[in-house]
């Protein structure tokens, strides 16, 4: 080591970065060098104050953050565990399955949405009755009904909404996740492709430009309690005060009668209902037109009513 004590030497000594021999040499030099000794002492105090200041500036994470992370991790695990239904080819849905689904969907009666009092969906009611009858029969003969699509509880809608809120957050905060998930970026392409994928006759071409949001992309998703679902995202043209661009999510889930009569979707079809879950970071609204259940979510909660109004109009035009 150089005979002269440098500031770097003294700092490395203080930080414990010197080997034992070099450290002992510094210590011997400090014994006879008062200014250097005072410098080391000042640096030691500076380190202590910096540490204290930085701890005091953020002593603990916000109380809700841990639960928010646990919810996101749980949804991530569930997402990762159920990739099978996603299409194998980027931007295209398996044509055979899509065609079969579309043919089946075309046989179902179409109805206009959000037109005031709803008409009974004969097929949905019949399916539900069949399921209930089957459940009773299997119960009589002691067979497990676990494999049947037992009428889900209200909590299943909330469960779906909690996933929607968490998935919205995950996608809104990760360009990488968006790029991976939204393999359809041309808006005119998405409605037709997603309709075929979901097995419905048609989906609305959702245009949110009047709200100041541009289409980002769309792709398959895995909302709980649905065999398949679709997720569309939109980004606001203008950044917020924090420099980030708020986003909107629209999730579409085929409504095949899996939401029972006591769920918000079935109680007032065509009317947006608020789904409140304990672990939801963003507010979620949901509604069904009998064919498709829509879950919507925004980074800015104040945009939610305008989004609901815009979608009501656009879905009604389908």
């Amino acid at each position: 080591m150089d005979e002269r004590l440098t500031i770097q030497d003294l700092r490395r000594y203080l930080d414990g970065e010197l080997d034992p021999d070099a450290a002992r040499l510094i210590e011997r030099r400090l014994d006879g060098d008062e200014p250097a000794r005072q410098f080391v002492e000042a640096e030691r105090r500076l380190r202590d104050r910096v540490g204290r200041i930085m701890i005091d500036s953020a002593p603990a994470a916000p109380a809700a953050l841990e639960q928010r992370i646990r919810t996101a991790l749980a949804a991530e695990s569930r997402d990762a565990a159920a990739p099978a239904a996603a299409p194998a080819v980027a931007g295209r849905i398996e044509p055979d399955l899509a065609a079969a689904s579309a043919a089946a969907a075309a046989a179902r009666p179409q109805r206009s949405v959000f037109e005031g009092p709803s008409r009974a969906n004969i097929y949905a009611v019949a399916a539900t009755l069949a399921i209930i009858a089957g459940a009773i029969l299997f119960g009589i003969f002691g067979r497990s009904i676990d494999e049947q699509a037992a009428p889900p509880a209200v909590s299943d809608v909330v469960d779906s909404a909690e996933f929607v809120s968490a998935e919205h957050t995950r996608c809104a905060t990760s360009d990488e996740r968006q790029a991976r998930k939204f393999q359809m970026t041309a808006q005119e392409q998405v409605a037709a492709e997603m309709a075929a994928y979901l097995g419905v006759a048609a989906l609305p071409d959702i245009d949110l430009s009047a709200l100041g949001y541009a289409f980002v992309g769309g792709g398959p998703c895995m909302v709980p309690h649905a065999i398949r679902s679709a997720h569309l995202m939109y980004r606001r043209d203008a950044a917020g005060e924090n420099g980030l661009y708020p986003m909107i999510s629209v999730f579409m889930v085929p409504d095949q009668g899996q939401f029972d009569a006591n769920t918000p979707l079935s109680q007032a079809p065509g009317t947006w209902q608020s789904c409140d879950g304990a672990a939801m970071e963003h507010k979620v609204l949901c509604a069904s037109d009998g064919q498709v259940a829509y879950f919507i979510c925004c980074c800015l909660n104040e945009d939610l009513p305008r989004l609901a109004e815009a979608l009501k109009e656009q879905i009604g035009r389908r």
């Binding site: 500031i7 910096v50 701890i55 905060t173 990760s174």
Partner: protein, 182 residues
């Protein structure tokens, strides 16, 4: 490692993660988003984690830095300028100068926090990050270099520069109070 095992291992470090995220992002909402993305990413790559002494915290810090700077680049904000190490070297006192001297006994260390806090807030994110990893987490230069994914010489330079800036603030404060020695 399954999700529950990961949570047991990683969530106890949440406060430290949030503290670091605040130093980088300077806003609690953005810091919370950063931390969430960090944990999600860590879970995705949990099978790559290998205990190498020091626990999982340094690995999480590394992911957090990666997430922060990736977002920074994607948001198309002004990128942190490449350090002008030559300039930093030129600003250091000459090697044979022991540094400024003042009457330490009279400097009230309990009342320097406001000046130091303001000075820390003015530093670039990578300097604040280095100070936190050094001053709070007590990490060695090599560990900090691994987290920030830069050479150890860069860490030494950043830490040296940050400390010099802060010491200058204290020297100014001492001079204002007439405490500077001869």
């Amino acid at each position: 490692m399954d999700r529950l095992e990961f949570e047991d291992l990683a969530l106890p470090h949440l406060d430290a993660m949030f503290r670091m995220a605040m130093q980088l992002a300077r806003h609690p909402d953005e810091a919370a988003d950063l931390v969430q993305e960090t944990y999600l990413k860590a879970l995705r790559f949990a099978e790559r984690y290998e205990e190498q002494g020091g626990g999982i915290r340094p690995w999480l810090f590394k992911i957090l830095h990666n997430v922060f700077y990736t977002r920074l680049a994607q948001a198309r904000r002004h990128a942190a300028p490449v350090e002008n190490l030559a300039q930093a070297e030129a600003d250091d006192p000459a090697p044979d100068e022991p540094g400024p001297a003042w009457n330490l006994a009279s400097l009230d260390w309990e009342h320097v926090d406001d000046r130091l806090k303001a000075a820390i807030a003015e530093l670039k994110p990578e300097y604040r990050s280095v100070l936190l990893l050094w001053g709070v987490e007590g990490l060695k230069y090599r560990e900090i270099a691994t987290i920030q994914e830069v050479p150890i010489g860069t860490i030494m330079s950043r830490l040296h520069r940050a400390r010099s800036i802060l010491m200058e603030q204290l020297a100014d404060l001492a001079e204002e109070k007439g405490l500077r020695g001869g």
